[in-house]
């Protein structure tokens, strides 16, 4: 578990509506020098989903939990419990685990500041960050929390991350469009690789190759 302190577990909705926010979080985590992990990366069909999630939580020191999507699902008309459940798992690991597992740290994101109290009042007293469904706000919140929790001085400035994210988004959209690639259906790992490459390319050269 040598990379334990670099790994960030992302527990958030994976629907199309949340995709922009999800991608902004992935970008921020990578730009801050961490590795985003989430249940979308599983390919091993033999393992149960829950087992995979537990394994992933064990590997990650940090956790980002967005509980903003608790509304009824459009198709099933039922509420989604995955995010609160995974948040509970993460919290349980920290409380009942041993060794470095106990050093886990997480941030809880919500749409509005005190809304959570109405559906998950157990979290009262815990600092929850609101993003108002804004990519800029979610980038700022995630960056500031990672900087504080990790105490790393290498975490870039929030404005710089946001500026880079906008540039990346534009470049990536154009590039994918030119190659007739469906940007919305790109697998999670492939997407992270594109971000890592983009960040590497644009940090090592004076003039960005993408204009």
């Amino acid at each position: 578990m040598s990379n334990y302190s670099n790994q960030v577990f992302i527990n958030c909705p994976f629907d199309d509506e949340y995709l922009t926010m999800f991608r902004a979080i992935i970008f921020t985590v990578l730009d801050c020098g961490f590795i985003p992990r989430c249940s979308q990366e599983f390919s091993n069909a033999t393992e149960t989903r829950l087992k995979s999630i537990v394994t992933l939580i064990r590997k990650c020191k940090y956790g980002i939990h967005d509980i903003s999507r608790v509304e009824h699902d459009r198709n099933t008309k039922l509420p989604r419990f995955n995010m609160p459940f995974e948040l509970g798992l993460f919290h349980g690991a920290k409380v009942f685990g041993s060794g470095q597992i106990r050093s886990k740290a997480c941030v809880i994101l919500e749409k509005e500041k005190y809304r959570y109290q109405k559906f998950i009042s157990d979290l009262a007293g815990i600092d929850i960050k609101s993003h108002n469904n804004s990519t800029q706000e979610v980038i700022f919140e995630v960056r500031n929390w990672l900087s504080t929790a990790s105490k790393r001085r290498t975490v870039p400035d929030a404005n710089k991350i946001f500026s880079r994210y906008k540039k990346f988004k534009k470049n990536f959209k154009t590039t994918c469009s030119d190659r007739s690639i469906d940007i919305n259906n790109m697998p999670f790992i492939e997407f992270t690789k594109n971000i890592s490459d983009w960040l590497k390319i644009n940090q090592n050269i004076i003039e960005p190759l993408f204009h």
């Binding site: 990379n3 670099n6 990578l30 730009d31 801050c32 020098g33 961490f34 590795i35 985003p36 992990r37 990366e41 790393r152 001085r153 290498t154 975490v155 870039p156 400035d157 710089k160 470049n171 990536f172 590039t175 994918c176 030119d178 190659r179 690639i181 790992i189 492939e190 992270t192 690789k193 594109n194 971000i195 890592s196 490459d197 983009w198 960040l199 590497k200 390319i201 940090q203 190759l209 993408f210």
Partner: protein, 233 residues
């Protein structure tokens, strides 16, 4: 504030065998940029080469100049001696012809150089020679008539000297300027119209400073020796 750069990391399950779309695009973009720069560089290089071709001497010319510069310059003594001899032998048609021949000669071959060295060894100024030189000088001074007589005597002596004729033959046997040399000089003149003065200056320097003058000196010295020998007979 960013106090130092963070290290960008990759997801542990990333397949590095396959390039990402971003990387492919970056490579393509860099390639296009390189191609664009390369094209403009090619244009600039061509233009520079054209200018250089027009304005600077060709490689052959530079090589030729280098060779000219390497040639030994005649010493003061040698120049003086040549002047004396030319002055003395002005009326001798054979001597003038001989001088003309020398001037026409290309760079001496190894064989010729060796022959010249041998001659020089043979004709190294002896006490008698120096004495003879003094006598010649004295001859110039008294009267025009005496000078004329002395010159005639030298010319006559040279004309019948077997040794002189032998060496004259040697000189004649030396290779004539090759067609290529002539062609090179013509080419140089053509190529360097703009620096014609410079070429002429260097060609003059070549003629003035070349080994041929030293050969002249050696041969002239030899001639004197022959004359002396002839006199003593």
């Amino acid at each position: 504030m960013e106090s130092e750069k963070r290290k960008v990391k990759y997801h542990p399950n990333v397949h590095f065998q396959e390039d990402s779309i971003i990387l492919k695009e970056a490579i393509l973009s860099a390639f296009k940029e390189f191609k664009k720069k390369s094209r403009s560089l090619e244009k600039a290089t061509k233009a520079i080469e054209e200018i250089a071709e027009e304005t600077r001497p060709s490689k052959t010319f530079l090589k030729y100049i280098d060779e000219i510069e390497k040639l030994p310059k005649p010493s003061e003594k040698a120049t003086k001696a040549i002047e004396e001899i030319v002055e003395a032998a002005r009326s001798s048609k054979t001597f003038l012809k001989y001088l003309d021949e020398i001037k026409k000669l290309p760079k001496p071959s190894e064989k010729a150089t060796k022959a010249i060295e041998e001659i020089a060894e043979e004709t190294r100024p002896s006490k008698t020679f120096l004495k003879y030189l003094d006598e010649i000088k004295k001859l110039y001074e008294p009267s025009e008539e005496a000078t004329k007589a002395a010159i005639e005597e030298i010319a006559e002596a040279a004309r019948f000297s077997k040794v002189f004729l032998k060496h004259l033959k040697n000189i004649k046997d030396l290779p004539k300027p090759s067609e290529k040399t002539v062609e090179d000089i013509e080419k140089l003149a053509e190529l360097n119209k703009s620096s014609k003065k410079e070429i002429l200056k260097n060609i003059n320097a070549y003629i003035e400073n070349s080994k041929f003058l030293n050969e002249t000196l050696l041969r002239a010295d030899q001639l004197k020796q022959i004359i002396e020998e002839h006199r003593n007979e």
